[in-house]
């Protein structure tokens, strides 16, 4: 049970039309062992555990399926940092200064026609230096029955991403939500205010560095540590 590859079994047959699995470029070691025990007195049984971080994926052509057609029809390779095909989903990592342009073309080009947006959401990766905050847009083309994910990133020190409300008006509330929870400032949004938390709230709660509260217990001033400081298996 201490094996690091304690992962669920993998199906034998590969999906034929799926693109070749991207080669792991680098897999930096995040942590060895568990529960912070390192010396020879490790009795946790996890001493041999090596936890690696997910490598940065970048899929080479051909992407498979309709994904090649989308990238060809978009034809803005200079605006796209990398293309990732994973689990049958296409992700375009777009430079933030070109985001609005890319969205506009994705919506209006007759070969693309991503007329429905399913909104914006954020993810915080504190370990990715220079691109800590990610903003994800899920688009759906009803005309061609296709889906694509547009991902943009910005550094924590300069959390600005251009707003796409002008292209997809539905992003109004979604961008407010991402701002509220991650502190991503969407430049050009008509009224970027908090939407879930109270207006005078400090901090952005879904960031990984947001302090969580512990629970005081009535026993000699003890405290149950906050969830991010409890010991865990992951």
């Amino acid at each position: 049970m201490t094996s690091p590859d304690n992962l669920p079994e993998v199906p034998d047959a590969k999906v034929p039309d799926e693109a070749q699995a991207p080669e792991p470029v680098e897999a930096p070691v995040v942590r060895r062992g568990m529960f912070g025990v390192h010396d020879s007195g490790d009795t946790s049984g996890f001493g041999g555990l090596v936890v690696r971080r997910q490598p940065r994926l970048s899929t080479p052509r051909p992407y498979g399926g309709y994904f090649d057609e989308i990238v060809d029809a978009l034809g803005m390779d200079d605006a796209i940092e990398r293309v990732v095909v994973d689990r049958g989903e296409l992700t375009l990592h777009v430079k933030r200064e070109r985001l609005v342009e890319v969205c506009q073309k994705l919506r209006d080009d007759p070969e693309l026609r991503f007329e429905l947006s399913l909104g914006v959401s954020g993810v915080h990766y504190p370990h990715l230096e220079g691109e800590e905050l990610h903003s994800l847009i899920h688009l759906c083309s009803m005309t061609h029955n296709r889906r694509v994910r547009v991902e943009t990133s910005c550094p924590d020190a300069d959390p600005h991403i251009p707003s796409t409300v002008g292209v997809y008006p539905t992003h109004d509330w979604h961008e407010r939500e991402a701002y509220d929870f991650f502190g991503i400032v969407y430049d050009g949004h008509p009224a970027l205010t908090r939407i879930m938390m109270p207006d005078d709230w400090d901090g952005h709660p879904q960031r990984k560095d947001y302090p969580l509260g512990g629970i005081p217990v009535e026993y000699r001033g003890a405290t149950i540590p906050s969830p991010d400081h409890r010991r865990s298996y992951s």
Binding site: P8, D86, R87, G119, S121, H138
Partner: protein, 441 residues
């Protein structure tokens, strides 16, 4: 804040703190500003929970409508980052509490996509999911229609809706052990198989429900008061729906037959025969008709799913074979309504130390999900419900985000109600059918 500041931003402000009411009225009458700002909610019976609407009125006409949300934000997405993948279902089921099975299914489909086990989820589990989802669609629409009637001044549809919903609730309780917040759908399948007699009970519902739906239709379909309150009210055409990202019954009431069950099938929906309900009116009445027809179509799907469950898929497993993911025990629903398995307990406590360790590890530590991100959309009663799940390869989600249809569709309130009568705001909100638990999460 000073009165001067208020007046600069808000116009003439009247602070009424005691005094003679006649003086206040005379004061207001002298002003030339006819604008009146009214806060509707957050505690108001027709706001479907804690929704606050800030309405600017000119007489009876709404000139500006702004919705304020967040009163029911419970941090479900953040909480899930500190629980195992399986425990996540317990959280998501509480989001949109009127359609819990859909929340669970969207989440589980996304986790299964990350695990790469979509093809190995047993067919029986998928058929049960479909049956439960369609039952849930009926119960959700019944609440929508029932509260709808009440908000427009008719109490009978409310009583009918809730009475009929009770049939579905009883069934859910019988199958999952709980009326709401089931956590029934799990990554890899469903938590328990149908208990003995469940197929017959669903059969009874299939016999009774068409009559009940017909009763509601008799009450409302051609009711002149209802028609005048709903026809050409809260108009939102296809262009508006596309711009605002509206999906579900509102979109289908504007003439586009977009239903993910048909266009991008999941859980084996491609094997079921049913029609997509479409109307062209773009108004509240069309949305009502779409929901009514959807309930009738759901009954068709339930019947087909039931045939499969009782026929070719009888006796099949309802959880993935993989012991690293599937819960170690096939729990049976005990008479106390809790899941239990005497055989399994005897096995792990009496004969196999390894089985005990495995049980303990799987339940406390959980399974690992390979790193990556996946988005799984499904057609919930309110529209497209999508679960974006990000994993860093650990035993807990790195980030979970739900694309909640209610959250998105509420953005249409200004488009639907500005320029209309104040009474039509109620109809507009009701036709969106928002559930604030889902909106705020």
């Amino acid at each position: 804040m000073s009165t001067a500041y208020d007046e600069a931003t808000e116009g003439k402000v009247y602070s009424v703190t005691g005094g003679d009411w006649d003086d206040v009225v005379t004061g207001v009458r002298e002003g030339d500003d006819e604008r009146l700002v009214v806060n509707m909610g957050p505690q108001h019976p027709s706001t479907h929970g804690v929704l606050r609407l800030v309405l600017t009125l000119d007489g009876e006409t709404v000139t500006e409508a702004r919705s304020v949300i967040g009163y029911l934000h419970t941090g479900i997405e953040k909480n899930m980052e500190y629980r195992t993948w399986t425990q996540g279902t317990t959280f998501v089921t509480r989001m949109d509490y009127l359609s819990p099975i859909f929340n669970e299914t969207a989440y589980c489909l996304s986790v299964e996509k990350l695990l790469g086990i979509e093809d190995r989820v047993p067919d029986r589990a998928q058929a049960i999911r479909v049956m439960m989802m369609e039952l849930n669609r009926i119960s959700s629409h019944l609440v929508a229609m029932g509260t709808f009637g009440m908000e427009l001044g008719a109490t009978t549809p409310f009583l009918f809706g809730y009475r009929d919903r009770e049939m579905v609730m009883d069934l859910f309780e019988y199958i999952t052990g709980l009326r709401m917040n089931h956590a029934y759908v799990r990554p890899g399948g469903v938590s328990v198989d149908l208990p003995a007699g469940a197929v017959d009970k669903v059969g009874e519902l299939l016999k009774e429900m068409p009559k009940r739906i017909k009763d509601i239709r008799k009450l409302l379909d051609e009711n002149p008061v209802y028609l005048r309150r709903t026809q050409d009210v809260a108009y939102l055409d296809l262009t508006g729906c596309m711009a605002l990202g509206i999906t579900g019954p509102i979109l289908r009431a504007s003439g586009l037959p977009w239903d993910l069950r048909k266009t991008q099938p999941y859980c084996g929906y491609e094997n079921y025969e049913f029609d997509v309900a479409v109307q062209k009116g773009c108004d509240v009445y069309s949305r009502y008709l779409v929901r009514m027809q959807e309930m009738e179509e759901s009954l068709k799907i339930i019947e087909q799913a039931l045939d499969r469950i009782a026929g070719p898929l009888k006796g099949d497993p309802v959880m993935i074979e993989d012991k690293k993911i599937g819960w170690p025990a096939q729990l049976a629903l005990g008479p106390d309504g809790l899941g239990n398995s005497p055989d399994h307990i005897a096995h792990i406590m009496g004969s196999s130390m390894e089985a005990l360790i495995h049980h303990f590890k799987l339940v406390t530590e959980g399974f690992r999900v390979p790193a990556g991100q996946a988005y799984a959309p499904i057609e919930s009663p309110k529209g497209e419900l999508g679960a974006l799940v990000v994993s860093d390869g650990g035993t807990r989600p790195y980030r979970v985000h739900f694309r909640e249809p209610s959250f998105n569709n509420l953005q249409a309130i200004p488009a639907m109600s500005e320029g209309g009568q104040v009474a039509d705001v109620i109809a507009a909100v009701a036709s969106i059918d928002p559930v604030m638990g889902g909106v705020d999460r």
